[in-house]
Symmetry: C2
Subunit: 195 residues, 2 copies
C-alpha cells in the first residue's frame, strides 16, 4: 500500500494549514490506493474518470488520439501531481483522453464525492483545492501563451528551463508530442542548439 505521508505533506504545503491527526486518519481510512505497472492505463478513452490519482511514486502521461491515430500528450504526471481528466471527473462524462503509466507508479485515489466531503470537513483540503486551481490556471495561461507566441525552438528552451527534470525522465519523442512537434523536428532543434 502506498505511503500517505507525501499526500499529507502536499496538502499542508499547498494549503498552508496543519493537518490534525484525526483528519489524517480520516483520509488514510477513506482513500484507496492503486499500483500501476509501466504501460498500464489509469484511464482510457470512453471511460468515466471516477478517480483522480495522486502520484506517490512514478510517472504518467495523459494523451489524446486524433483521427489519424496520432497521440498528443497534454500533461505529464510526476511525484506529488494529481492525474486524471478533470472534465470527466467533474461532469461524469466519458473521457476523450488516456492516462498511462510511464514508470511503475503508486497512486492514492479519490472520488469526486470523497473530495467534496473532505473539502467540507477539513479546512486544509479546501484550501489546497483553491491553491491548486489558482496554480493550474496560472500554469495554463503560461503554456497557452507559449503555444501561441513561441516558435518550436523557443518552446523547447522554455520547457528545458521550466521543467528540466522532464528531459531526464521522459523520452524525447514524448517531449516532442508534448510540445506539439514531430520527434524529428525536436531532434534537429537539439542538434542545432549545441553550442
Amino acid at each position: 500500500m502506498a505511503d500517505f505521508n507525501p499526500l499529507f505533506d502536499y496538502i499542508e504545503r499547498k494549503s498552508k494549514v496543519t493537518l490534525p491527526e484525526d483528519e489524517r486518519n480520516l483520509i488514510l481510512n477513506k482513500l484507496k490506493t492503486k499500483k500501476l505497472r509501466k504501460r498500464q492505463f489509469f484511464l482510457q478513452e470512453g471511460d468515466v474518470c471516477k478517480y483522480m490519482g495522486f502520484i506517490v511514486k512514478g510517472a504518467t502521461r495523459m494523451f489524446a488520439v486524433d483521427e489519424k491515430g496520432h497521440e498528443h500528450i497534454l500533461h505529464f504526471g510526476l511525484e506529488e501531481w494529481w492525474v486524471g481528466d478533470y472534465e470527466s471527473f467533474y461532469l461524469l462524462t466519458p473521457s476523450k483522453y488516456y492516462v498511462e503509466a510511464l514508470e511503475d507508479a503508486d497512486l492514492i485515489l479519490i472520488t469526486n464525492e470523497q473530495l467534496q466531503e473532505l473539502a467540507r470537513t477539513t479546512k486544509a483540503v479546501a484550501a489546497m483545492l483553491d491553491s491548486l486551481n489558482q496554480g493550474a490556471t496560472i500554469a495554463n495561461n503560461k503554456r497557452m501563451r507559449a503555444a501561441i507566441s513561441l516558435t518550436a525552438e523557443e518552446r523547447y528552451e522554455d520547457l528545458a528551463k521550466t521543467y528540466p527534470h522532464f528531459l531526464q525522465r521522459f523520452p524525447q519523442n514524448m517531449i516532442a508530442s508534448y510540445l506539439g512537434i514531430s520527434p524529428e523536428t525536436l531532434s534537429r532543434i537539439r542538434k542545432a542548439a549545441v553550442k
Copy 2:
C-alpha cells in the same frame, strides 16, 4: 453606473444557489464599477492587476507582446465574462499582459480581498468560484489540446463551432492572433473553406 443584475444572475446560474436580498445589497454596496471606451486599457504590462472585471456590456481582449513587438491574444472577453490577469491578481506580481476594450464596455470591479471576503460570507459566491475554476480548467484543456493536435485550419473550424459569435464580433486579424496564426494564413484558410 453599471447594472448589477447580470452579475447577480450570473452568480446564481453558476453557483446554483439563490442570492438573498441582503447579499445582493452587500455586493451592490461594496463593488465599484468602471466604464471603458473603445481602445482604452483595463490593464497594461507592468501593472499589478488589482481588480478583476465582470463585463456587463462590451468586449475586451487580453494579449501579450513578444520581443519582436508582435501581439498575441490569449483571451477575448464578452458579456458575463471575468477579465484580468489571474496570476497578477492572485500573486500581486506585475502583469505581463494587456487588457484592452474592443468596444465601449461597462465593468464591475472586485479586488482580491473583496472576493475572499464575499466567498467567506456568501455561499453563492463560493460556489460560483468553484464552478468557475472547474469551467476554466476544462476550457483550458480543450484549447491546449486544440493547440497541440490540430492544424491551423482545424483550429479555425473548431473555434467557429465553439464560439461562433467571436467571428461576428471580432475582426479577423484578431481571430488570427488568438489562433496563433498570421492574418494572411487565416484569410487563405477561409477562402479555401468556402464550399
